[in-house]
Assembly symmetry: C2
Homo-oligomer: 278 residues x 2
């Protein structure tokens, strides 16, 4: 499976607002419940044939376990080149997007004949097993403002969505180790995440999503001091914001952050899910 024409895919970034962790021995069933927002800022991945695998991000060689595991699962080697305006390790699901884009583009490049659900499952398993994501991939495959009702990849997981389009603002303060948070006691986090999910289900709107994300960040005790300072400044200005799970990143809708005097990046809710490019 080493010939074919280069193929490209785009995968939206994904910021989780709240979640509960659901480990499982079968990685396709493992994952998270919760809700997040997919972004028009995302990862564009191009796959082309190569006898030996190489992976680059924005022109620099990188080692991303979820990407190499995805190629392994598809039984191929390839040159994988990605570009993104998003930082790694700051809660945007870049590793999941990178893996899913690799799966879609490699399937096309090598005419592997897999279905979309198969490719989502391959990338989800790779991201979970690398320890870099618990639910970004399934959310990124759907697009919009995904609600993860049940953990896991197709056919195990279940999704819904908040029907919404909006400008998204985000401010990156630094990175945070997902591993450090998820390797500790996650029972309080899971209780808070499941309660937030129930309340969002009662009224799945953007304001409710941000409010539940904010409450979760507090209850799960995940706010770093620098993130808290920005969130509280936005609130003092009459806006609403919360923290990207997991990164030292603040997000809000409309002009919540800029009106509070910050100079955030901005994009929009991504209307689609991951898809091949022409």
């Amino acid at each position: 499976m080493n010939d074919g024409e280069a193929a490209s895919a785009f995968v939206p970034g994904h910021v989780t607002g709240f979640f509960s962790a659901h480990p499982a021995s079968d990685s396709a069933r493992a994952g998270s419940r919760g809700a997040g927002v997919t972004l028009t800022d995302g990862v564009t991945v191009t796959v082309s044939p190569a006898a030996e695998t190489s992976v680059s991000l924005d022109g620099e060689p990188v080692s991303v376990e979820a990407v190499t595991a995805t190629l392994d699962a598809l039984g191929t080697t390839a040159r994988v080149e990605a570009t993104t305006p998003l930082p790694l390790g700051s809660g945007f699901g870049v590793s999941g997007a990178f893996a899913l884009g690799t799966a879609l583009a490699a399937n096309q490049c090598f005419d592997a004949g897999r279905s979309e659900n198969d490719l989502v499952r391959v990338a989800h398993v790779a991201d979970v097993e690398a320890g870099t994501g618990l639910g970004d991939v399934v959310a990124q495959a759907r697009g919009g403002v995904p609600i993860r009702l049940e953990p896991g990849a197709p056919p195990h997981g279940a999704l819904d969505g908040v029907p919404a389009t909006a400008r998204v603002e985000y401010l990156v303060l630094g990175d945070l180790s997902t591993e450090a948070v998820l390797s500790g006691d996650t029972s309080a986090l899971t209780r808070a995440g499941e309660a937030a999910l129930d309340r969002l289900g009662e009224r799945p709107t953007l304001p409710r999503f941000v409010a539940e994300s904010r409450r979760f960040a507090e209850e799960a005790d995940l706010l770093t001091d620098d993130v808290r300072a920005v969130v509280e400044a936005v609130e003092a200005d009459g806006g609403a914001a919360s923290m990207a799970m997991l990164g030292r990143t603040v997000f809000g809708f409309g002009t919540a952050l800029s009106e509070a005097g910050y100079d955030p990046e901005h994009c929009r809710v991504h209307p689609a899910g991951a898809h091949l490019l022409e």
Copy 2:
């Protein structure tokens, strides 16, 4: 629920290539299994507050049962205005798109607080009960090249997809009564549709999708003479095409129809599903 700001949604057109019909007393569980392609040509729906419901398509008043039933289910009246380059009754799922766009835009306009799955279910039930569609709505909500694994709306149905992007060509020869086909004996059709679905599942690619659609049209005995003439002319030219279910419409990918000397409409596979517009 009669005040709010006008809101708009876009829903892709959807051409079914093959299907099996699965009636059920619960319309949310009724539907079809099969596969189709969603189109960048679709229906744009704008909903605004009004004390009495009015519905128009391309500026002309129309009566579309699936649309009024959708508003009824949401407990509201509204002015509903839609535009589309697609013809009604020719196998593009315009009624389903109109209903789903109405559901999304009305939810936004009236801040109804429904989830995406809820809105898809409302539109699916309305389209099924009007007798105008059996699976377009769930496919249009997903986008791409949807495979309907199990019939029905969320949470009952199940979808997969053929990962693909392509130019789509289509030639409309006239309309066809969905009701007349579906009110007869559908057992041969259902057998042919289920066999096609199994074979597409083995290798979910665009060429396989067209080939299975073509075989289904033959086995289910649905080809009209004029559609058959075009499909066979495309094949004589070395291309592949089949019939939109259900309409006197021929579709193919790339330049299959134009290379055979026809002057088809063209668009692309829609990468997203239905979504609100800014």
